[in-house]
Symmetry: none
Subunit: 412 residues, 2 copies
């Protein structure tokens, strides 16, 4: 059973809104085990909508549309669909009553001329009520083709989909598609794909696919099966091979964040932490604080952006700054030791670097970041080189810093 | 000149990511006066990609693709495009050099097997360099058809589009659509729309449209004209009416960020600043550090998450914490004064609140945040109540804090 999504709306083609409906519906279809082969967007234009219905039903068995159900004359999804299937439009009395009720409750006059078209549907449709707006949806099944027509606003699409469309589509659901994502840090997409190339190339069910994300890389294992348990049984041996290859580089699964992994680990092992940031400027602290339980272990963050703050707050020596510069191994070391000492924590993590766009030099280019990591009496310093704009460099440095702490704590 | 957008990526069809590239490109094409008639998404599948290129070039003169330029074997956009136009793939030496450089700088081994395919392009292509990633784009013009191939990651698409694609497309631009956005803080979308309802309802060219964003609200003024100057002349009187209505609530224009507005203002007026954060946990500092010039005025941020840190770093009195609690007017006041004093700055901004999901009570519910603002000898304290999840509460509190400083500095 192949499905596709057809969104109608000039505002999407103008780039005024981002098409979150397509994402929502795709995700839910994937969970039902119905494969989405295509998404498309056309404007409020009946000829192009008709063309796309024709192209779409050549490719797919099910088309789900969003948008074009409004009260204005340029809202034409139902009209065009009726034409495509050669059906007339019929007034649905129940929908008309709902519409009148809705306007009464809103204290607005029911404007017959415009809104009444929202109660008309292609003959033979199953109506999908819309308690969140004025435009009901509908499902039309003609021979082997299924057309599901939904409104445009995402807050109306979501409840209509889960309440009516999902139960309806269950009959087409050939089992389920289940994915598991392994999140990997410190390895680029290309190298990751090479390290796992045997598994990627030789796996069919589950499949394994590598992706680069902004702060990390992921491997997604996707199985098709008739039940969730069966899918998990298919995923398990592949996952365990990948875990052997990538080991400690895998920091978590699915949508977990590094701060959650690290936060739990610190709490479990009872290590308190503090941060001293220059180029990352508060992002490490902000990430840690994302994790609700962090107050048990995170004592303090210092954003020591100026040299004075590095000296006064962290006890970095003035001669260190003079001799080696603020962006140096030596400064990173003293920052990490300084924050751990003054905040009395087991761990002190420190960053100092050049986030750009200015301030770089041939010896110390933009993207250069030194990090210091103090853990219970022992300090290490590392040098990193990032690429991208200021925001990207800062985000990636933050990821590396948190991940470095994770790796060290795991090894203890 | 008709254009369409074709995004390649199974991730989009699975609903794992939302298609922001389509929005970005659509918006920029609209600004160029090039109409977008169609958007589509296909998976990493060469047959379906080939079909869509065929369908697309029946409808449109220009197709812009995103995605499928990665190093892995399932990245096939260039290969499929070459097949469509019956061209061979040719190694571009300059791109290969860039690729090697990139890997050298990263201190990673250049993995020939996989990554080298990123330096191959359909014969006759104009190459679009990618300083933000390993996959250059390209433009291929064959007879009356123009194919523009861009990478997938939005942070690579945006600079490549504005730097290379926009100048290239200027020749196709018939007239322009020009927008100006007024960014408003501290007023919700509904009230904003009411305050401006006369202008919103009675403007046709330019149009005025209100939108709610996560951290602020915006009014977008959009004019159609044959030149940019003409569009700006249409926008100007409407903008000036809106500025009269909203006054100081408008903090900036277009894509400006609050930290940029505030950063410039602090530098201009020569006010130094420091921050003391509890619930926002580094986000205020991190936002300020987003602005590259900030080091002139931002001296230090303290993330005083624990009571000890509030006492030791900021000089908050233990009896204040005992009597009123960490989340209180009194603590916010002492935090703001404390950070300004110890870091010797003109301004000290402080936050203390309950970001949730736990820790709320009937008296002090989740979302309650006290903020203190010290400016040259004078301290004010305000109480805010936010709604949403932990991340939303923290982001909105950060926005309010920065915006509060802006308003106070403007009034000086």
């Amino acid at each position: 059973m192949k499905a596709e999504i057809l969104c109608v709306g000039t505002e999407i083609l103008l780039g005024d809104i981002v098409n979150t409906n397509a994402q929502f519906i795709s995700k839910h279809l994937a969970n039902l085990g119905i494969e989405v082969f295509h998404q498309s967007v056309v404007g409020d234009n009946p000829e192009r909508l008709l063309d796309e219905l024709e192209n779409g039903f050549k490719r797919s068995d099910i088309i789900i549309t969003t948008g074009g159900l409004g009260p204005t004359p340029d809202d034409l999804t139902k009209e065009t669909s009726a034409k495509f299937f050669n059906r007339e439009l019929i007034l649905d009395e129940k929908s008309l009553e709902d519409l009148k009720d809705h306007f009464n409750k809103m204290g607005r006059s029911y404007s017959k001329g415009n809104n009444i078209k929202q109660a008309y549907f292609p003959k033979g449709s199953k109506i999908l009520p819309n308690p969140h707006g004025t435009a009901p949806g509908c499902i039309l099944e003609v021979e082997n083709k299924t057309l599901i027509i939904l409104p445009g606003p995402p807050r109306e699409v979501a409840p209509m989909f889960t309440e009516y469309v999902e139960p309806f589509l269950k009959k087409y659901s050939r089992g389920i598609i289940k994915s598991k994502t392994l999140r990997i840090s410190g390895i680029g997409e290309g190298i990751m794909a090479e390290m796992a190339s045997d598994i990627i190339n030789n796996s069919t069910n589950p499949t394994v696919a590598p992706y680069a994300k902004e702060e990390d890389t992921i491997l997604r294992i996707t199985a098709e099966a008739s039940t969730e348990d069966e899918a998990l049984t298919l995923i398990e041996p592949v996952e365990s091979k990948l875990r052997k290859i990538f080991g400690i580089n895998i920091y978590g699964e699915d949508d977990v964040k590094i701060e959650e992994v690290l936060g739990k680990m610190l709490i479990d092992k009872d290590y308190t932490i503090s941060s001293a940031e220059s180029c990352t400027g508060g992002l490490i602290a902000a990430k840690l604080v994302n994790y609700p339980g962090i107050s048990k272990v995170f004592k303090e963050g210092a954003v020591t952006y100026s040299n004075e703050a590095k000296i006064n707050r962290l006890g970095v020596k003035r001669e260190t700054l003079d001799k080696y510069g603020a962006v140096s191994y030596e400064t990173a070391r003293e920052m990490a030791e300084g924050i751990a000492k003054t905040s009395d924590t087991d761990i002190g993590i420190a960053t100092t670097g050049i986030a750009g766009p200015d301030g770089g030099s041939p010896e110390k280019p933009v993207g250069l970041v030194y990090m210091g990591l103090y853990i219970r009496g022992k300090t290490q310093v590392k040098k990193f080189q990032y690429f991208g704009n200021r925001a990207t460099i800062r985000k990636r440095a933050t990821m590396s810093a948190l991940d470095w702490v994770r790796r060290e704590i795991m090894n203890i």
